[in-house]
């Protein structure tokens, strides 16, 4: 079906989880597992007088991207902040474990992250789900599965979603995408507004946002905020995922130690970008995606193969 919200130029940021799945994958290639008509909903939310969702805010299934078979999971960031909970967590964990255990299934898993972390009404189940998911991703990567995180939704990827993202083989991010462990409001609450002003959106985006993550090597590809942008960036990464072994881990540790040494004294993103050798770091914020992708690809820091 033709739908403006899933067309090639439609915004990833504005889209729902289902629209992203439809826009990312090859047309009509998606088969959903545990779809909404099965009504696998949260058993807890009604106790809090909070409405449930038929899919508990996570869409999982299989399909094709550029003709290649993939498993895919998408978090719905608009439903309770795209949270990890008992059912939604189990769907994610089950999908990654299935890829780990069954070679007959696609050996590429795409995780369309859009979450602020654990659902507070189901916090214990949610925390467990995050831990199980990270373990499943590590085990799947050991078994040769490529797990790729796509970050560009309204809720970003924070808390458990940030940890999950960082555990993946590869990360694709857009300019609107944000990722980290503690979100801006959490840092401000705990450390004070002098440490991080969560109301200062320019500061938040320049620190947690996709451009900074890409330039520092925290994300492996930058996508324009569109279905086609994420399709192109993900297809390019799928073919070259690094082996997950001791050598990769040691390289990652060295890279992080070097980053800390080189950039640890900086107190904002622009000064880090200057040290990375970018001529006019102030222009990064308004730079269009095409120009930025070319720039990022020329920066050594951004293109480590450690993960």
């Amino acid at each position: 079906m033709e739908d403006a919200a899933t067309s090639a130029q439609a915004s990833w940021f504005q889209a729902t989880a289902r629209q992203r799945v439809a826009g990312l994958l090859d047309p009509d290639s998606f088969t959903e597992f545990l779809g909404p008509s099965e009504r696998i909903q949260s058993p807890h939310l009604h106790l809090f007088d909070v409405p449930s969702a038929f899919d508990d805010g996570v869409v999982i299934g299989r399909g094709k991207l550029g003709g290649k078979d993939v498993l895919v999971a998408a978090q719905e960031g608009q439903f309770m902040g795209g949270t990890f909970a008992e059912v939604s967590g189990a769907k994610l964990v089950g999908l990654v474990r299935a890829a780990r255990d069954h070679k007959s299934l696609p050996q590429t898993v795409l995780l369309l992250m859009d979450s602020g972390g654990v659902r507070l009404q189901e916090a214990n189940a949610g925390e467990l789900a995050v831990a199980e998911l990270m373990r499943a991703i590590v085990e799947a990567r050991c078994a040769g599965v490529a797990v790729i995180a796509l970050v560009g939704g309204k809720a970003g990827a924070f808390g458990g979603a940030g940890l999950t993202t960082a555990t993946c083989s590869r990360i694709v991010i857009s300019g609107q995408g944000r990722t980290g462990v503690s979100g801006p409001e959490v840092i401000e609450t705990n450390k004070g507004v002098e440490e991080f002003d969560s109301e200062d959106k320019a500061l938040v985006w320049s620190t947690d946002g996709g451009k900074n993550r890409r330039l520092l090597g925290g994300a492996d590809a930058f996508a324009e905020d569109s279905m086609e942008g994420f399709r192109a960036a993900t297809k390019a990464l799928m073919s070259k995922v690094p082996a997950f072994d001791l050598k990769t881990m040691q390289a990652e540790q060295e890279r992080l130690a070097a980053r800390q040494k080189r950039l640890g004294a900086c107190d904002d993103a622009v000064s880090m970008w200057r040290i990375l050798g970018i001529q006019e770091p102030e222009t990064i914020r308004d730079m269009d995606a095409k120009k930025f992708i070319a720039l990022a690809n020329s920066i050594k820091e951004a293109n480590h193969d450690a993960r």
Partner: protein, 103 residues
């Protein structure tokens, strides 16, 4: 939470072959509508779960208007509401029935 259930007899079966569709998201001021073609020709059921109590008459009017306008015979429609306004509810119902009629 309040649950509401409406039974209607539609004028005719909704055209199209699609057996199910979902539209919308459970978010503030929004709702999700799941449509399934599982009932006899002219039967239509609408089941609603909403966190806001006391809007029974409004729901009843919106659903009746929708059934009158589109004749969604054969559909079981299930709604998870996030506190949507009546116009949003009506819009999602119309979008949902259009999805079921596609192809």
């Amino acid at each position: 939470m309040q649950t509401l259930s409406f039974r209607h007899k539609a004028k005719r079966r909704l055209s199209g072959k699609k057996d199910q569709a979902i539209i919308g998201v459970v978010a503030s001021g929004n709702l999700e509508v799941l449509l399934e073609r599982v009932l006899p020709e002219t039967a239509c059921e609408v089941d609603i779960a909403t966190p806001l109590n006391g809007y029974d008459e409004t729901w009843k009017a919106v659903v009746a208007e929708f059934v009158e306008r589109t004749s969604p015979g054969g559909l079981r429609i299930s709604i998870n509401d996030g506190g949507a306004r009546p116009d949003t509810v009506y819009l999602r119902l119309m979008q949902g029935s259009a999805l079921m009629e596609a192809e």
